[in-house]
Amino acid sequence: MSGRPPLRAAVVGAGRMGMVHGHLLQVHPETELVGLVDRDLSLADHLASQGLRAPLYPSIEALYGATNPEAVFICTPTHTHLAVVRECLARPVHLFVEKPLATSRADAEAILRLASDARVMHAAGYVYAHLPVVQAAHQLVAKGVLGEVLRFTAHAYVSEVFGPKQGWFFQKEQAGGGVVANMASHLLFILGWLFGPIRGVTASTRSHFSRVDDSAQVLFTFATGVRGLLDTSWSVPGTQMLDYGLTIDGRNGTLVLGRERILLHLLVPAAGHDAGWSEIHASDLPADTAFDVSPHIGGEAFYRQLQTFVDACRNGVLPFCSLAEACNTQRMIEAIYASAAAGTPVEA
């Protein structure tokens, strides 16, 4: 604990993610949950019964009339993010926006402009980027351990959609897409964080069961010249939580990123790492987590994500997971859908 006064935060949208963030804001020693906002006030008893003790307000206006949050967590359906951000920024509050940022690149960039103009801190909820192994992999690439990065292959799979689905999450207009926008975007964020902006993509998507994309194959070219392949589907058997993998080849070796470990093969030693094979296991990395709100999905990454946001708000320095980085992810999502629709490569 830093001894700083707690960051007073509110959550807009009391669905599943809103409840997760609400709980973490109550548990974290440097934050205080001062309110929840949802149009469905009948949720009040349910939320209270879960131990979410802050009042539930029917609107942001009502929240602002009753309390004075320093930060707002936006957990409403994706298509509402721009309008909610605009309303929240009636006051200069720091913004945390759940992923994906928006249903279109234009909306995502508008959100970023609003936040930048308001000079507030901001972050997006790509939680897997906060896993210790992912951050360790980023450090290795950033330090140049692999030398010039040449190529990668990646996958993101989950067993979720095997028939028609209901709800906003499966409506393109409301969710921004299917597996690419809502599951693979976790990995797209990590790819963008590792390799920067894309130059172009060639993509194919398919709807096997739902009315949105259930699978996709993508060939990326990044501005740096890095090229790579992503295969994703939420209609494969065998994994109840998101299973991702990433193999990166550079001139000096290969890095294989999994859920619990990094395998590294180097041709010559670099940055303290020996030549040949080595392993970095999650258990070798500091977790820096006081509470695990979701042991099987996300784990310590949720707490670390919140800590990153709190630090940004307190230090006035934008975090690596800022809305600018999330805009880069949105550009990738939009380019993938554009290429798939056109059946041709697309420049980003």
Binding site: H23, S49, Q50, G238, T239, G245, A287, P295
Partner: protein, 283 residues
């Protein structure tokens, strides 16, 4: 293999709900453990290593395997309910009412009547979508569906447990303990946040015969840190059972159990990877 007086417990849950080193390993393992005979074989390997209880999130293959296993072995099941991954999927596909109905229709006639009567007495709380009531009701239905298995301990699924602990909802746990008492069995807690559990439950923690929480020499998944967790465990080692003993496969079976033994914990939970590794090594 022994843990020096510590009870060994096999941990079973749907293989698709675990992490693996690669996609290939995942598919191979999930396919193998979709077969009840393979799960049964794993139970026998664990038994050979000294495991005398099975902590289980039960799906169809696991249920079938445990029924077969318990015909031959006097090994009780410690049931973890509800199966949250299945429940969340049903919530998405069927809604809250549909998910509850799906569980209700799986019950036998007597359990249907019992559950129905129990629900009637809690209609107000159900209408308010009270968390502790809803959790308990779903847990009761899943427990009732385990008929035929010898269950001696009852645990809430960790995804529910951590939410209840975050919110300080001790009622979710006391309801579980009450239900377990009614059934003549014991209640337990599975958590990654044992310190929070102790803080939320206070003296009520004494109602839970076992608290299953991470314990390994690397501090893996021990939140907020290894030192704080071990301090808690040392205060009442007989109540705690070590989970994540191999720290995600980073610690070999021998040293993993030696660590549990050194702390004097009541037992250790062994995941399938640990069991197969130890069995093949003949540890």
């Amino acid at each position: 293999m022994t843990a020096g007086g510590a009870q060994l417990v096999l941990e079973l849950r749907p293989a698709a709900s675990r992490h693996y080193a690669s996609w290939t390993e995942r598919l191979g393992t999930v396919a193998r453990f979709s077969r009840p005979d393979e799960v049964h074989a794993l139970c026998e390997e664990a038994y050979a290593l000294g495991a005398r209880a099975v902590l289980a999130v039960v799906d169809a293959p696991i249920r079938e395997a445990l029924l077969e296993f318990q015909r031959w072995r006097d090994v009780p099941v410690w049931a973890v309910v509800p199966n949250m991954f299945a429940f969340i999927r049903d919530l998405t596909d069927l809604g809250m009412v549909g998910a509850a109905r799906a569980r209700f229709t799986r019950l036998g006639p007597a359990a249907m009547v019992r559950t129905g009567l129990g629900a009637v007495s809690r209609l107000g709380a159900i209408r308010r979508r009270d968390f502790a009531t809803g959790t308990t009701l779903v847990a009761e239905m899943e427990l009732a569906a385990l008929r035929g298995l010898r269950v001696t301990r009852l645990f809430l699924h960790p995804q529910v447990t951590e939410v209840a602990l975050a919110g300080g909802v001790s009622a979710a746990f006391t309801a579980l303990a009450d239900r377990a008492e009614c059934l003549g069995i014991e209640a337990g807690i599975v958590t990654h946040n044992p310190l929070r559990a102790a803080a939320v439950l206070g003296r009520e923690l004494g109602r839970f015969a076992a608290v299953v929480a991470p314990c390994n020499p690397k501090g893996y998944k021990m939140f907020p840190d290894r030192e704080a967790c071990e301090q808690l465990y040392r205060r009442e080692p007989g109540r705690f059972i070590a989970a994540e003993v191999s720290a995600g496969d980073a610690v070999a079976p021998g040293p993993a159990l030696a660590h549990v033994r050194a702390l004097g914990l009541a037992g250790a939970v062994l995941d399938p990877r640990f069991v197969e590794r130890a069995f093949r090594a003949g540890t």
